[in-house]
């Protein structure tokens, strides 16, 4: 029966050994590329983009996702890492006004882009109407998915206004209306494990200005 002390040790050992594996893999990767005489061994790239209205310039390991750049390099931890595979929507941010999963895109692919995170939508004291509505309607319980839900909601209303059809749009040749069926379908890429969906729908519906 392992004591807590042993447990601690083995966890440390594990950390040490996995760090070593990473270092080894890195070296092997470099050698592989060098063998082929590849001209550009750039493992990092400079990128400039705007986040919440501020110009940022970063030199990032190419592997850095936009999500990790926001959280780990710019310390904007409002955007959340859920599944890290594009399935849960917690990492949703707006890029040039469109919602995307920031976990499935590389930061270095965003040269010149304008990125808006939950922090850029509004701040305490000057909340975005969607943020205020989520508070008013209790559109969350644990709150982990909420930044993604709110970014997505803001974009969903824009997408309907921009005449982008959805799976539940009855007639493709008439613009979709803002209905609860449309909102539900369009929000399906944002999972809420607490199940606050009905309150989320109420919040979005109020901001959309239509009866639920």
């Amino acid at each position: 029966m392992p004591t807590p002390f042993n447990l601690e040790l083995s966890r440390r050992e594990l950390l040490v050994s996995s760090a070593a594996t990473v270092a080894l893999a890195g070296a092997a990767g470099g050698a592989r590329a060098a063998d082929r005489g590849e001209e550009s061994l750039n493992r990092s790239t400079e990128v400039s983009f705007e986040v919440n209205g501020e110009a940022k310039r970063l030199d990032l390991d190419n592997r850095t996702t936009l999500l990790d750049a926001l959280r780990e390099h710019l310390h904007l931890t409002g955007t959340k890492k859920g599944c890290d595979h594009g399935q849960c929507g917690a990492c949703t941010v707006l890029v040039d006004g469109r919602r995307i999963n920031s976990c499935l895109t590389l930061a270095v692919m965003h040269e010149g882009d304008k990125i808006t995170t939950i922090e850029g939508l509004g701040q305490p004291g000057s909340l975005h109407p969607m943020q205020a509505a989520f508070v008013k309607y209790d559109g969350f319980q644990c709150g982990y998915c909420t930044p993604g839900q709110i970014c997505s909601s803001v974009a969903v209303l824009e997408e309907i206004r921009a005449d982008i059809p959805s799976h539940v749009t009855q007639d493709l040749n008439t613009p979709a209306a803002i209905t609860s069926a449309e909102i539900r379908e369009r929000m399906s890429g944002n999972i809420c494990r607490c199940g606050a969906y009905s309150n989320i729908l109420d919040a979005i519906t109020e901001v959309a200005g239509v009866p639920a």
């Binding site: 592989r32 550009s40 493992r43 895109t105 590389l106 005449d163 982008i164 040749n173 379908e185 399906s188």
Partner: protein, 316 residues
Amino acid sequence: MRAFSYERATSVEAAAKAAARNPEAKFIAGGTNILDLMKLEIEQPSHLIDVNGLGLDTIEKTSDGGLRIGAFVRNTDLAANETVRRDYALLSRALVAGASGQLRNKATTAGNLLQRTRCPYFYDPNQPCNKRQPGSGCSAIGGFTRQLGVVGVSDACIATHPSDMAVAMRALDAVVETTGATGEKRAIPIADLHRLPGDTPHIETVLERGELITGVVLPKPAGGKHIYRKVRDRASYAFALVSVGAVVHPDGTGSIAIGGIAPKPWRIEAAESELPKGARTASAILLADARPTEHNRFKVDLVERTLGAVLAEARG
């Protein structure tokens, strides 16, 4: 994720050349499939060529009344395009039935065609998989196969192609345009783009190393009723168990492609002349060579019933 070098391609020719030079290079478009797989080290490119700066993001009429869709038109923009909604509604319907709003904003025409299977064993690097590691065996055969293929499959692999968009494009007789490493251009009918697995399931398409998809051309509108019906485990945001993409004409004939059952959008033209006789006759032809497993035998019935529902809707 393995480390890789990164470049932003500045021309189609340069991108194709760069990809041909290095066998471990890959293009990245929307990134929504390749990055997912790189995180799991199922894809391990040592070099990524970002093709997003190449343009190829417009939708234009062709001289003979068809439509040319740029390789990097986002799925959202393609679904929302006025001409597509009016004349190729099947394509809009298939696109909005796939993935989520966020993913469709990134996903591109080319990337969607070339997305890889969702076979759960392909996604689990601890399990043998001939597609991921040639010669290692197929864990799906004899495993849990509810989502997997029933037709066009082989003893080496029974995976399906997961794209909804490709099913619509198959029913619409799309042609995929490419540029190769030495600048040569090809026009590949979508029927020929994806290979059946045979004993080399890791070779999924007829594209050669470095060959870049530049666009997809649709022939001039065929008229008829356009229907895409997707059957899945939940009402939204799930891959198809079975889907039917159909263009049905007033005389009851039409073109039909099926998704969720095969390594490529499944279409057998001989079934289409039998459409007026009903779903049973047509699906018997479509699935004549089916070899379902115990877990996915239900797909055989589901194809017939989904097709029946589509034909009823078309009669309206």
